[in-house]
Amino acid sequence: MTGWRAGILSAFLGLAIWQGIVWFAGLPKFILPGPALVAETIWTSRALLAEHALVTISEILIGLVLGSILGAATAIALAASPAARALIKPMLVFSQAIPVFALAPILTLWLGFGLASKIAMALIIIFFPVTSATFDALMRTQPDWLALAKVMGGSPWRIMRHIKIPAALPGFATGLRLAAVYAPIGAIIGEWVGASRGLGYLMLLANGRAKTELMFAALIVLAVFTILLHAAINRLSTRYIDQR
């Protein structure tokens, strides 16, 4: 069975189990709506879902781009300078001890209820995996390439640019794949803490009014987007980085 066939079959199996639970347990729709009702809600509320999805997707994509750039730049600075490693690395490790969730209210306080605080959340949550994966890859350059570069009289910056960075791209791609999965988490947390738009906001709103099927609809839309984002990044990295 090929990968995508298995995937589709697995999705149908999941939906069947879900519908089965709803039927056999006789759950009311405000506790657990069945997949058919959720699908119907996605269709009937498509305009509402699209409007809020657009907000969340912008937050995720902007956070992803900024977080990746910042993460890669930090990794390069750390790899280039032992002083930066000594000063910044402990700070990075310490920052991981702070639960990102706890930062959300502060970010909302500082950056307001708009896009900025959610972008910041997404950025913070992906920064560490991108930095860490890229940095590790930069430090693992084949030693003999570096020896050859040194014998050739290369300057440290040119060795970084022409050898270490290209050699570290697969590591960066690994970080990016993780980031594609983490970034939506950041955006949603940001929206839960304080927002007037976005899928996270819509979920809270629907939940509060016992419109559980709308909450599930928003959840499914978010999950599908996350899977597509991950697949797109996976495909781009395989095509341009791993297969070179």
Partner: protein
């Protein structure tokens, strides 16, 4: 020479004497080695005896090695003088053959001389493969790109760290011939564990053992020598005997 280029800097004689330790344990002690100007010196020995370390010391890339002694180039050369080739071709997988040859210029920020790169690719017989990535080349072709990159560096001293040992027997012979032809006139140090390679290519042969370096007389004839020449076979036998160092095993 040829192609209207200025001749390479005159090949120097290199002498090295001293002792080296790595992390406290001795690698070699009190050795003395002379690489005659413009000739092939072969350094033969079993793995782990410190041959590659010695080569890296001359190349200036023996990181972490504690060396007490001196390395002298006669005449003194300013600027870059040494380049090396290893068993691994060290080609960057994301660059084409031609871009790999131009790597040195890139790393130094010099303008890339594409015309010369193309000439060198032709010399090693790979004109049709200029734009291929290393993974689309065979092991022998990759090592020829590596040779072209070495020639591009245009250094009077070339250090070869078992560059032929990963190749199949026939490719190895062809590569040895091509390398001898193209590196003519440069001062060469070839590190190898293969006695027949040393007997075929060495104008000077050293045997490296735990106890130090020993000079073994090399055939006088022009290199690359024929594998079945009497002098080559004789030297080869002598090298095997010395390597085995247990007379009862060699009869």
């Amino acid at each position: 020479m040829g192609h209207g280029r200025a001749p390479v800097t005159q090949a120097p004689e290199i002498t090295l004497s001293g002792s080296a330790t790595w992390a406290g344990s001795p690698i070699f002690s009190d050795i003395s080695l002379t690489l005659p100007a413009g000739q092939w010196t072969c350094l033969l020995g079993q793995s782990g005896v410190g041959k590659s370390t010695l080569l890296r010391l001359i190349a200036g890339i023996a990181d972490g090695l504690d060396f007490k002694g001196q390395i002298a180039f006669k005449p003194e050369i300013s600027g870059r003088k040494v380049t090396f080739m290893a068993q691994d071709d060290l080609l960057l997988p994301w660059l084409s053959a031609q871009e790999n040859i131009l790597l040195g210029a890139r790393l130094r920020g010099d303008p890339p001389d594409r015309k010369r790169a193309a000439e060198l690719l032709a010399k090693v017989g790979l004109s049709d493969h200029a734009h291929k990535k290393p993974k689309h080349l065979s092991g022998g072709q990759r090592q020829r790109v590596s040779l072209a990159r070495t020639l591009m560096e245009d250094c009077p001293v070339v250090l070869l760290d078992e560059p032929f040992s990963a190749l199949d027997a026939l490719t190895r012979l062809q590569m040895q011939d091509l390398t001898t032809e193209l590196l003519l006139g440069k001062t060469i140090l070839l590190v190898t564990h293969d006695p027949s390679e040393a007997a075929r290519l060495g104008q000077v042969i050293y045997l490296m053992e735990q106890t130090g370096l020993r000079k073994i007389p090399a055939p006088n004839s022009k290199t690359p020598r024929s594998l079945d020449a009497a002098a080559v076979l004789k030297t080869q036998k002598m090298l095997y005997q010395n390597l085995l160092s247990h007379p009862e095993l060699t009869q």
